[in-house]
């Protein structure tokens, strides 16, 4: 029975893989079927994972179970559950989440803006500090390093390659930033620096593109390896 299931799983994965690849010929029912399965199953999968991880694992275990247990105990006169490890503040998240559902009722749908404002405000507050620290300060610090030594005050311990690399990084970062400064016309010395910045950015885009192609190729090889190896057994 287990062998039969193993074969079924292999054939199913191969059927769906070929279904998606069939789009290379043209849009066809096999591709549409695979796509429909992908949409439905993925949505269901992430719904369930979020439910168990976030709703049950965080809210219900952290506050919901205790609250309903406490209400039940008060109503029936039974034993009140222990409050150790309970964080009633989690109800704030649950109430905001519930407000989001009110979008479905047009008359009071505007209330769904409250959780949205909370999310946007919290993201803005968190990112403002984090981005200054990680994206600005750390990057600026890493760009402006000593030319002739690996650390400040440690004497001359650098190679010609490292010195050139440091200069290239500094010039590239500075000129790239100048290119992104649109409040001043790109003319004269400023324009020349911006042009140098474009060259560095082009190399970056080219390198990123090369990497993207490599990763997609690697996935393609993986799928062909599955079809020819796991499914057909042609590659041992």
């Amino acid at each position: 029975m287990e062998v039969l299931f193993e074969h079924f799983r292999l054939w199913l994965a191969a059927f769906l893989t070929l279904g998606i690849f069939s789009f290379l010929y043209k849009d066809n029912p096999w591709y549409k079927l695979s796509e429909a399965i992908f949409v439905g199953i993925s949505a269901g999968y992430w719904f369930v994972v979020l439910f168990w991880d976030n709703f049950y694992g965080k809210f219900w275990v952290g506050a919901g179970d205790y609250t309903f247990g406490w209400i039940g105990a008060k109503l029936s006169g039974g034993e009140v559950p222990s409050s150790s490890g309970i964080d009633l503040m989690l109800w704030v998240g649950a109430i905001l989440g519930f407000l989001m559902l009110l979008r479905l009722i047009p008359k009071i749908g505007w209330l769904s803006r409250w959780p949205l404002a909370f999310i946007v405000g919290a993201t803005a507050g968190l990112w403002l500090i984090n981005y200054v620290a990680s994206n600005v300060m750390v990057q600026v610090q890493a760009t402006m390093v000593p030319l002739f030594s690996s650390t400040f005050g440690s004497g001359f311990d650098s190679s010609l390659g490292a010195i050139i690399g440091t200069i290239v990084i500094f010039v590239g970062t500075f000129s790239g930033l100048v290119y992104f400064f649109f409040s001043k016309a790109h003319t004269g010395a400023f324009g020349t620096t911006a042009k140098i910045g474009i060259l560095f950015l082009m190399i970056t885009f080219g390198a990123s593109f090369g990497y993207t192609v490599m990763s997609r190729m690697s996935l393609l090889i993986g799928r062909i390896d599955y079809l020819l190896g796991d499914w057909l057994g042609m590659i041992k």
């Binding site: 269901g44 949205l116 190399i203």
Partner: protein, 225 residues
């Protein structure tokens, strides 16, 4: 009222989180708020799942083009909900992790979602190749640089690239394509990446300030009420 309250919530929450970084008693506030996000995300997913069901039922009901595929989507969605929420086919029973090895739920991920997802991305290899054929023409200096950088990075990661410049003496090892690819990644590419990252950082700071100060209001939608 409909706009004033969300604007106030945003300003207060944003300001409190910025101030919390400088006040030790409030330093965990960011983590608490992240927990709230996670809980709100579940409700947002209720909305998203509900919308998916509504759209496909609608398509089915009105017998629109390709309505048969909506049955497949709905079946897939409800199938995952039932086996995931009720933990049917889970060797550990109702108390076990839904993604436990051997459960129907995880098997569906391994043999349906995983191959479909990887193949979708693998498909992009063909489209990227076709797009680059059309877009990458060395028409000017910038396009040539982009093309050269991509070409060296691609070649540098293949045995063919190693073979092509294996004859270059060790004293000129930088001219060997794999080493050149590493240098491009570590120097000019890094410089460009840093310029972009610093630019994004400054952009995020400016947008966050605009939001907290109530200048940017597009997230509230069109309603003027």
């Amino acid at each position: 009222m409909r706009r004033a309250i969300p604007l106030t919530i945003l300003a207060v929450v944003g300001t409190v989180l910025i101030v919390s970084v400088f006040l030790p008693p409030l330093e965990n506030l960011g983590e608490d708020f992240t927990l709230f996000f996670d809980i709100i995300a579940v409700f947002a997913f209720f909305l998203g799942g509900g919308n998916l069901v509504r759209i496909h039922f609608n398509k089915l009901w009105r017998k629109r083009k390709d309505w048969g595929f909506s049955i497949v989507t709905l079946f897939g969605f409800f199938f995952m909900l039932v086996i995931g929420l009720l933990k049917i086919g889970n060797p550990g029973g109702i108390g076990a992790d839904p993604t436990a090895e051997g459960s129907w739920f995880q098997e569906t991920f391994n043999y349906v979602i995983n191959p479909l997802q990887s193949t979708m991305y693998a498909l992009l290899a063909f489209f990227v190749a076709s797009a680059s054929y059309r877009a990458f023409r060395a028409k000017n200096r910038e396009a040539t640089l982009l093309l050269l950088a991509a070409f060296i990075i691609l070649l540098g990661r293949t045995p063919f690239g190693v073979m092509l410049t294996a004859w270059v003496p060790e004293s000129w090892s930088i001219a060997q394509i794999p080493n050149l690819a590493v240098w491009i990644m570590n120097s000019p590419n890094l410089a460009g990446q840093r310029a972009i990252i610093i630019g994004i950082g400054l952009g995020v700071v400016s947008m966050s300030l605009r939001l907290i100060l109530g200048i940017e209001r597009s997230y509230l939608g069109e309603d003027r009420g």
